[in-house]
């Protein structure tokens, strides 16, 4: 043990690294331009050791945070080796097949140097409003190749030695629907990286480069130790579970997600070989994305707090055959990769419920309800809105689920109605909880919600990538599943159902789109629900019958 790094000094450094990630987070939040970043909060910030292993995270989105290390390691292993990085460089990519997840997410990394050596890397991931491609928001529901999904940026230096590559930026701006938003949010990313870099350089200056590097290694080891101890307390055994995705938007067949979790001593093997083959439509995930879902599920069942770092991944082995929906092969489309992640999470939690029943609730809604609107004015002016909504969470053995609350793989806010209406020719005609959508049970699942948008522009183009319209969020121990989601077009007073995947639907002025999200699953038999709880449900209108 190096004398400068007793447990106390280590804890102090860990706090400093987490504080740096939090300061980067605040910077993105306060300076970003698009509603998807600044209101929905679809971004994450993290700190990595000198080799690219994640050592500290902001409290943002698990889907991002546990994929960023994999992404960075892929970039430096296969594309831009670290010895070619220099002070003042910023490396970016959004390519799902170069370490990214889907086209809208731009990963940006900046190395930190002290005493002539690289001591850390800081990173920011932002979901950008639009990166071009066949649908607004780069979220096409009908893409069959990644080439259709938007502009792909291979790993490259957007900034080299502090100098912005204007040519690359011009190329990017030319290919997207809202270049002002892209540049505004990119600037927020760059500002966040410079804040993180300055902080870490100061930290290295204070404790010394060698100590900082040593601390990172020890932080990773500490997480691994805690993770091993936690797994060690789970009964050995093999736990299997399956759940389904409705379809891929092209082929109507359901897609099976299956996990076999083998717990043996202090290690876990997660075999995803039972998952369906890669899809024709954009419901596919790369390994960075699927690995993130595995990490989330295992970290979420911890009975004690474990510092979330790349060290947590070490005792967990993932088997995911190439060409399957959880490890798609180029050039499969991947826009809706989060659907796979959500379903992987509910499947893994379902398996783990068998091992640690009191810690795992019934299924949450398990969908990022992504709806994108491109409004077109009389003068041809276009506006873009990307919405991500949520549903109800699953009930626990002793508590009801939460209604309309972000859960699981993502962690978004909603966009204020007044913010949308002040910026775009859209009017929200309703937003509220959906009675009877929570799965019945001794403990009731949380309620899903509804949201309605009316088109006020001459026309608009609508795209949706939804799930759980057929396979409902499961209940546990006799609890019933939550209600399925639904999507409606209301035109001239007439309601028409839309499917869960809608690609570039033309809408006219006055049309209303109504989204209904799933509630969570119930826990325990409905007949065992306490009478007082039933009365409250009825009084508050959570349950109408």
């Amino acid at each position: 043990m190096s004398p400068s790094l007793d447990p106390v000094a280590l804890e102090i450094l860990r706090n400093a690294l987490t504080a740096a990630a939090a300061e980067m987070d605040v910077t993105v939040w306060r300076t970003s331009r698009s509603t998807i970043v600044r209101e929905l909060l679809d971004y994450s910030t993290a700190i990595f050791d000198a080799e690219g292993y994640n050592v500290a995270q902001s409290a943002r989105i698990p889907q991002h945070l546990n994929s960023m290390s994999t992404g960075l390691l892929t970039v430096v292993r296969d594309f831009l080796p670290l010895d070619g990085w220099g002070d003042g460089d910023v490396v970016i990519t959004n390519d799902p097949y170069c370490g990214g997840q889907h086209i809208p997410d731009i990963l940006a990394f900046r190395p930190v140097y002290a005493e002539g050596r690289r001591v850390a890397i800081v990173g920011t991931l932002c979901h950008h409003l639009d990166m071009g491609g066949m649908a607004a928001g780069s979220y096409a529901a009908a893409a069959t190749e990644v080439f259709q999904e938007g502009l792909r940026i291979p790993p490259l230096k957007l900034v080299k030695g502090g100098v912005l590559n204007e040519d690359v930026l011009a190329m990017m701006r030319q290919n997207v629907r809202r270049p002002d938003m892209l540049w505004g949010d990119l600037q927020a990313q760059l500002a966040s990286l410079s804040v993180g870099e300055a902080n870490l350089r100061k930290l290295a200056g204070r404790v010394g480069a060698a100590t900082l590097v040593e601390a990172c290694a020890r932080i990773l080891d500490g997480s691994e130790r805690a993770m091993r101890a936690m797994i060690g307390r789970i009964p050995d055994g093999r736990y299997e579970f399956e759940d389904f995705l409705d379809d891929d938007g092209i082929d109507p067949e359901p897609i099976r997600i299956h996990a076999a979790v083998e717990v043996k001593g202090e290690e876990m093997v997660i075999d995803l070989s039972g998952c369906g083959r890669q899809a024709v439509g954009p419901v596919n995930a790369t390994l960075a994305s699927s690995g993130s879902a595995v990490s989330y599920a295992v970290m979420a069942i911890a009975d004690q707090e474990i510092p979330p770092t790349a060290g947590c991944y070490r005792p967990v082995t993932v088997i995911a055959p190439e060409g399957s929906i959880v490890n798609a092969r180029h050039p499969a489309p991947v826009a809706n990769r989060v659907a796979v992640s959500h379903r992987l999470a509910t499947t893994l939690l379902g398996a783990l419920h068998q091992a640690v029943p009191d810690r795992v609730p019934a299924a949450y809604y398990g969908v990022s309800y992504v709806c994108s609107f491109q409004t077109i004015g009389a003068d041809g002016e276009r506006g873009v809105l990307v919405e991500i909504e949520v549903g109800g969470s699953g009930a626990h053995a002793d508590t009801d689920g939460l209604s309309g609350y972000t859960y699981g793989m993502h962690n978004n806010s909603n966009i204020p109605v007044e913010m949308i209406e002040s910026e775009l020719p859209l009017t929200l005609t309703g937003y509220g909880l959906l009675p009877d959508s929570g799965g019945a049970g001794r403990q009731r699942g949380g309620l899903g919600l509804f949201r309605e948008w009316r088109i006020d522009s001459v026309e608009a183009i609508f795209t949706a990538n939804l799930e759980r319209f057929r396979f409902r969020p499961y209940g546990l121990e006799g609890g019933e599943p939550g209600r399925a989601g639904a999507l409606w077009l209301i035109r001239d007073g007439e309601r028409r159902p839309l499917g869960s995947k809608v690609n570039n639907l033309r809408l006219m002025k006055g049309d209303v789109i109504r989204l209904e999200t799933s509630g969570g699953g119930g826990y325990g038999r409905p007949e065992d629900r306490a009478e007082a709880a039933r009365r409250t449900d009825r009084a508050l209108g959570y349950v109408t019958a």
């Binding site: 447990p7 804890e11 504080a19 306060r30 505004g184 805690a226 004690q304 209406e421 937003y431 009084a539």
Partner: protein, 696 residues
Amino acid sequence: MSSPSHGASVSITPFIRIGIDIGGTFTDLQILDERDGALRSLKTPTTPEDPSIGLLAGLREAADRHGFALSDIRLLLHGTTIATNAVLERRLARGVLLTTAGFEDVLEIGRHSRRDIYGLKPAHEAPLIPRDRRLGVPERIRADGGVERAPEPAAIAALIDRLAALEAEAVAVCLLNAHVNPAHEQLLARALRQARPDLPVCLSSEISPEIREYERSSTTVLNTLLMPVVGAYLQRLTGRLAEAGIGARLLLVQSNSGVCGAETAALQPARLLLSGPSGGALATLRMAEALARPNLLGVDMGGTSYDVCVVRDGAVTRMTQGEIDHLPVRLPMIEIRTIGSGGGSLASVDEAGRLKVGPRSAGSRPGPACYGRGGTEPAVTDANLALGRLDPRFFLGGAMPLDAAASARAVAEHVGAPLGLETPAAAAGILAVTDTNLAAAARLSLFEKGLDPRDFSLLSFGGAGGLHAIPVAEELGIPEVIFPADASTFSAFGILHSDIVHDVARSRVMPAAPESLPRIGDFLDALRQQGAALLDADGVAPADRRLAVAADLRYRGQAFELVTPWEEPAAEPAALERLLAAFHAAHRQRFSYSNPEAPVELVALRLSATGLLARAEARRAPGRGAERAPEARRVWLGDGWREVPVHQRERLTGRIAGPALIEEEYTTIYLGPGWDCAPGPEATLIARRAGTEAAR
């Protein structure tokens, strides 16, 4: 009631000004005799069931002890936690919320995002008004202020009819886009007041006329549910004051660090939510002025929490939105960062071998292990005691002997053994983790504004502050630490020196460009009129008025605005240019870049109307007596035990060098090696890192 030697009869005008800070345990008073500037303080037990009882007892005791009549009191400045505690304990009125039909659940849905991202069982509180008491009004206003659907009188009447069955005690109204056009809210208010004059009503367009419906609803609901609670308290208090023959003017401390009259406080009680900590910020500001230190970081460390505020360029930093118990409150308030770290915070080691301190606290029952009340886990106070930094015989001025052996045992068992450390090293570890937590909170407060700690002095107060201020300053790179006199009644001292402040705003998104100048001119006129009317109502003379304008600006597309002060505001191109230049500079300082070419939007104009209360210079008694030969005791200093001198604060007259301890009645100051310390102006002690110069 008055002492015979100080007959109230001889004085014609009342001359006593009293600052009152009601805390959980004690009610602190600072009493200023405006005739000669004599300043005195007093502590009396708080009466939580009705704090006005303790307040009156304090006033009587002060009058008796200091020889004035209750009728001599001219001004009562009152900081209160009544609103805060009512929210934290959910002792609130039974409210009804009227919303735009179809949006009744906005209050319950909130903004979705969670803080503990890996937790499967997030804590989530029920909304303050449950679903069956949220009623939809069939109406709609568009984002441009146009009316899409006007509410029918019959529909309004039907809603009002339901209030009785719902047993409403207060009604909140928050309609969509009411910040742009309040007509429908006002229509409802008129109907409500006519039909149910007994019910308090609060409109979102009055309390928080700004965009984002959830934040506006939350603020409106909090305010509504507090109206009956705070109203009743103020009624009791004014009743008791009248009974006691006190004709003094009563002013309440608001979250924005200014005071307001009791009528305003009763109508807008949400403005009192940070009234308590405001006192500390005011005191920090007062010290910044008195000591000519325009950049001061004020830290208040008590038993359970650590509050940080920033005075920058001679002004307390403020924000336009804060929260209480995770509920957004969108009103101007001083910026206070609070973390759960104090003398009672407990230390433990988890299975990953991490030493953690707080936020769990031993509270006052059982309290730290050394209190001997059954606590076995080590608290920060135990670590200080185990290292000799506290004197077990001199805690609270000797009123409460401490058990040093119990502290050492707790530290050894819960931290030393699991980490394989000797007891002193384990206790030092607890303090090191604590000090870095405190420093991180302070650093974030400065960082968020792009400020450099080296440009600041640290002002330490609160009972537990003295032992940690120097290590925190070391950690932050702050070269100077100031310890005010009466650290434990310091907030009341701040309250004593407050001014009347009214914050008013107009919110509308528009380009910050010449084409908006006519509208900007209208807004400026309206704000000035509103501010003047409020100060008229307070009877503030024209010479004592100060109006300050600020604009909330952002680059088009951003969600968050920088509140940019506007010097010499005017609806003229040159004035607008100056404002924009200030915005670009502020953005660069805060976020490391600016876009001078990019379009800028104006989101709100704000006016702070200040009514200066007469400044009365306070005069404290100078230090008494010559310096006594200091005692010494064994203190652990990182590498081993050393004999360290222990001084009594009131006897300090000259410079002393660290390491040293300085004791006073309610607190102890730890002066680390490499620091020295001497009495400063205003009865302060000022510590500096050796080799650094006096304040900038």
